[in-house]
Symmetry: C2
Subunit: 435 residues, 2 copies
């Protein structure tokens, strides 16, 4: 995971609107370099973590390839008009199956190169997510037994590969936060620090306020000067809290790593790989998929996915979340997060469904709100990690105090992410600019 | 300090726009029942604390009297037109000197009645603040040696009397916050709970969003159900943290109480009382005050006070504060608060200066931003109290953890108050409504 000092959220944003865009529109641009898709497993594609640096490190050519979920022909074509559902679905599935196999090869070749293996695993999960999302949304047009079974296996594989990177990301996020809270530059150097602010940077960049980057700058300055009282009490425990979290999360990551290696060696994995290899040339779709026109049968199913999303969003306390500093993040506790996590998954399904039927016209709200919900998930998990670390027996009070502050800080970010989601989802998300 | 279950921020607001209004305009209404002036010493006039209840408890007649900073004649007159500076200044000073003496008598009569004594002390400080602010702003029109000396003594007295109530308010605020964080209804019953939310309630009421009160309601419901993991870890320490804070702040209050009693018995105090008694009938003003017309010499001095305020505000990081969830509250630490506290004092001076020259046309921004900065000060001090409690030797880790969460929560409120200030001060504070 390379640390790239040069990267700022701003620069990042520029990259996001990079190569993909010209050809495939905002949606693809954002997807192309994994700003959304890869973030799904908390590998910091939005800049919470130095990880992002590595993500940016991949060569243009490869990024561009990654930026083409399937054939440029389809990308530029105005959706599925004049083609059968089978052509569209199979095309999308073939493409991502090929992506899956390609990244699998990369992963094998990467060997000891951790960054390369990470990136390959990300690409693999990215493809796997799209395949299973498509099999789920357009299930009625597939051979359902096959589809369900493949989806289950892809889910297992993605999950297994995701854990390691999730641990890394969580550790980086918490270290960054601790260091931001104490204003001390030890343990993690600048890039991570920037990473720690990336979330906000990105958000403010989205708000389009010049003040945002300014705020990032100003924040680092006073933080450097620590105050005798509370600051020092915090600093005293922060180092030990950091060491404790580092131990715990590094151990978890090691476990996840060996679990992943084991999975990649298992016959179960080889069965998935074979199934995807077949999928790359032949998708098992229902007969009617070959008869019906894509424009006829696909949109209703995508619409259904979107409706499920809209219904789930309707149950969220958006009125409260839209009210900044409502303190719900801390008050409510984790059992409040579940519906938001659920919406995150539904956003993804809806997004991938649009990728299939109208890749050039993806609702930017989906990207923005998806991003906000990634932040939400990451912050919630980081907060939980801090809380559980605080339950370690025989820690010093100062350590526990720092973990308490850290927990509250991350729950605060959870609340901020809900606010950002509301801004992204509800009409009139731009009012903040005039505020 | 009476707990009045019926009171909600909304009801409170209604009271604020109460009796005073018809006659003296918003400014006076707000001042009349101490919604702003009294809040200056954190006695919860905005509803953070049950204290507010007692505040509401005073009889209409008295409230109305309190609602008339000086003679109705002046209140209704369109400012200082056609009168000499001396008439206007002396009138204002006489009135508040009389108020001072009246509340002093009340305080003496209250004796064992704690609530009555509290209220009397609030009224006394309220008058003292206005007298010294006037002597400060219009210093060139007074006999400066006398003015400076009286101001110093009034400052000493106000400060001494303020400490006790500050400790009570801080204790109530922290207990309310702890109970909000853990969602447990022990130690403090509903009204206090409401009080704990009052700040938000008030803020949202100001934003005029129906969602706000709804959010208060919804917040209490999930909070009641606690989650096994982090919630319970927090709950475990919260009770002990609450007990610790209770001990420490009650001790501090007792000390402050005896200090206040000592002060009220001191010859230094009697000297102040005598000086104010003289002031009630005769203000020592410079000769030119008697010659110049009020409309000529007073506005420039008030304008100067306002300019000092504007300059101080200009140095605040409002761009950053106006960006919700900027995490500056936690990051920056206490040394960042000083300029905000300074602005709070300048807002007060500017407000009282307007009271003198144009009581019926007080800029609502002053009231709103003053209120926000009260929240800021209260939250900052509460956070500091939590942090210092966490440095108590030999506390349990769970206690320290809870205090860490509490500290972060209050710093979060500091950040929220800065945001609210920006909304109140900068043009277009209503954008939030459309958000």
């Amino acid at each position: 995971m390379g640390h790239e000092p040069g990267r700022t959220p701003g620069a990042r944003a520029a990259v996001v609107d990079g190569p993909g865009d010209g050809v495939y529109g905002y949606g693809y641009g954002a997807y192309g370099d994994g700003a959304y898709g890869d973030g799904t497993y908390g590998d910091g594609a939005y800049g919470e973590t130095p990880h992002r640096g590595a993500d940016d490190g991949i060569p243009r050519g490869e990024r561009h390839a990654a930026g083409v979920p399937y054939g440029p022909g389809d990308g530029t074509a105005a959706g599925p008009v004049g083609r059968t559902a089978e052509e569209v679905l199979a095309g999308y599935l073939h493409w991502h199956a090929a992506e899956f196999l390609r990244s699998l090869r990369l992963h094998r070749e990467a060997g000891p190169d951790a960054a390369g293996a990470d990136e390959a695993a990300r690409q693999l999960r990215r493809a796997a997510r799209r395949i299973s999302a498509t099999l789920h949304t357009f299930r009625p047009l597939t051979e359902e037994v096959w589809a369900d079974q493949l989806r289950a296996e892809l889910g297992w594989l993605s999950g297994t590969l995701a854990r390691e990177q999730a641990c890394t990301a969580r550790r980086d996020r918490l270290m960054g936060a601790l260091q931001r809270l104490t204003g001390r530059a030890e343990r993690i150097e600048r890039p991570a620090e920037r990473g720690g602010r990336g979330g906000r940077g990105a958000r403010s960049a989205r708000d389009g306020r010049p003040a945002a980057t300014g705020s990032v700058a100003t924040a680092t300055v006073p933080a450097a000067a620590t105050e005798p009282d509370a600051e020092s009490a915090l600093a005293a425990g922060a180092a030990r809290a950091g060491a404790l979290l580092d131990r715990q999360l590094t151990l978890a990551r090691t476990r996840a790593h060996s679990a992943a290696l084991q999975a990649l060696g298992s016959s179960r994995f080889h069965a998935v790989a074979d199934a995807v290899a077949v999928l790359a040339s032949e998708a098992q779709l229902a007969r009617r998929a070959g008869e019906a026109s894509a424009g006829e049968v696909l949109p209703p199913l995508a619409e259904q996915a979107h409706r499920r999303l809209a219904e789930a969003v309707a149950t969220l306390p958006l009125a409260r979340a839209g009210h900044p500093y409502n303190a719900a993040g801390l008050t409510a506790g984790h059992h409040q997060d579940a519906p938001w996590h659920q919406v995150r998954l539904l956003v993804r399904l809806s997004h991938y469904a649009q990728e299939v039927i109208a890749p050039e016209a993806i609702d930017p709200r989906l990207t923005a709100s998806g991003r906000a919900l990634e932040h939400h998930r990451d912050a919630a998990e980081a907060a939980a990690a801090a809380a559980s670390a605080a339950r370690t027996p025989r820690i010093a009070p100062a350590t526990a105090y720092a973990l308490g502050v850290l927990h509250a800080d991350q729950r605060h970010e959870v609340e901020a992410a809900r606010y950002a989601f509301g801004r992204a989802w509800l009409p009139g998300p731009t009012t903040e600019r005039t505020g």
